[in-house]
């Protein structure tokens, strides 16, 4: 795995490269700033598999660097891990919003480093496996492969506001107790996703997800919401803000927007995607559970028709 590491402290870069070597990752290139890193990505001719960046750097911080890297087509999906001091954990929010995949805390712990990089390795291996499969058996078979992975969360090509579902889960784990309780999640489920999935090619199905994602962004009218595709036709949104609109209103707005595509879907003999917006899920003060539980509850709500949900409305994790 080719790794690009960025930090303004040369000692830390040596330490990181040394630790990565100890756990079996010897192909590490280091850069002292975001500007140098971008120059390396643009002009070195090297394609990196993973980027590790310090969060707190002068001039260009980790969040700004992440946003700049994501603008480069070749690096839209490359895992980017932020490195931050424990005291700066709350500053990684911006980096996650910009497209970071995960974070590692300073001082480095080799067990944590091994676990985080191992996760990246497995992610890359899975992507390579899919790419190789598509190359070997052609587009038709690739579409079949996507069918077999209906439940898999994917990063939708062209959906700029979407982050990886894994990154959303990782972000939740960074929140302290106080912010955890002020954060809510709600999900938006494409009710006829399975029907479209079974009728359409893999590429058309992914295009449909992109259409839904775009309508969600339009309907939300705010950028203070993180959006990820969780698989099985369900998007998850997370925010610390009051959106000022009910799930019903949001659902109507998205579905009206999707009807604009009616002729396009009709040409493909497909139904227009229609969504259901679930109730917002929050963490309960008196019954702390694992942070990612609110995502599960949000998805559960969106996947359940309103008449079958519990009477008290809001989902509490």
């Amino acid at each position: 795995m080719r790794i690009l590491a960025i930090d303004d402290d040369p000692v830390f870069l040596e330490l990181l490269a040394g630790m990565l070597k100890m756990i079996g990752y010897g192909q590490v290139t280091t850069m002292p700033s975001g500007e140098h890193a971008l120059h390396e990505l643009d002009f070195s001719g090297m394609l990196y598999d993973c980027i590790l960046s310090d969060m707190q750097m002068p001039d260009m911080n980790g969040a700004a660097l992440t946003a700049a890297i994501r603008q480069r087509t070749a690096y839209r999906q490359t895992p980017i891990l932020m490195i931050t001091a424990m005291s700066g954990k709350n500053t990684v929010d911006d980096a996650f919003a910009a497209g970071a995949t995960d974070y590692i805390t300073k001082p480095l712990d080799i067990i944590e480093l091994r676990a985080r990089i191992g996760m990246v390795d497995r992610l890359l291996a899975e992507r390579r496996r899919l790419a190789e499969f598509a190359r070997l058996v052609g587009q038709r078979a690739a579409a079949t492969e996507i069918k077999a992975e209906f439940e898999t969360p994917i990063l939708i090509p062209g959906f700029e506001r979407g982050i990886e579902f894994l990154a959303m889960e990782n972000y939740l784990l960074t929140l302290g107790v106080k912010r955890m309780y002020s954060t809510s999640a709600f999900a938006i489920h494409v009710k006829n996703a399975a029907i479209i999935f079974n009728k359409a090619s893999g590429a058309t199905y992914v295009q449909m997800l992109g259409d839904v994602g775009a309508q969600i962004v339009d309907a939300l009218k705010t950028e203070d919401v993180m959006i990820a595709y969780a698989g099985s036709g369900t998007f998850v949104c997370m925010t610390e803000r009051d959106l000022g609109q009910s799930p019903d209103d949001l659902e109507i707005l998205i579905n009206i927007g999707l009807m604009d595509f009616e002729t396009i879907y009709a040409a493909d003999r497909l139904p227009v995607p229609q969504v259901r917006v679930g109730e917002a899920a929050r963490s309960a003060f008196l019954s702390p559970t694992k942070p990612t539980r609110i995502l599960e509850r949000a998805i559960q709500s969106a996947n359940t028709p309103p008449e079958k949900r519990s009477k008290n409305g809001q989902m509490v994790a």
């Binding site: 402290d9 330490l15 001091a85 300073k106 001082p107």
Partner: protein, 107 residues
């Protein structure tokens, strides 16, 4: 001050350890200079910024190289400077950090 990485030239962390010790000279100078400015009340903001930057860097690497005490002292100085602690508190926390760096250079 003993570290496993520094005493084994072929160890993957040996280069980091050597660089840490080399940079300690410059960092000790920066902290000592900032100490004087802070103590005398001159350019306090710049002094605090220098202290925070150096402490942040030491806190991020020292413990991983086997200098746990130094890492802990640096983290405390960084915490105080981030939280806007008073001059006397920062000076008090800075003293063992400067002493620890000086000891590392004597080693």
């Amino acid at each position: 001050m003993d570290t496993w990485a520094g005493h084994q030239p072929e160890h993957p962390l040996a280069r980091a350890e050597r660089l840490f010790r080399t940079m300690a000279v410059e960092r000790l100078d920066t902290l000592s200079s900032a100490w004087v400015r802070l103590d005398s009340g001159q350019n306090i903001r710049e002094a605090m910024e220098d202290i925070r930057n150096v402490a942040h860097k030491i806190a991020g690497t020292a413990a991983s190289l086997g200098h746990a005490g130094l890492g802990h002292q640096a983290a405390e100085v960084e915490r105080l400077s981030i939280e806007g602690a008073g001059k006397s508190d920062v000076l008090r926390a800075l003293r063992p950090l400067i002493a620890g760096l000086a000891e590392l250079l004597d080693d």
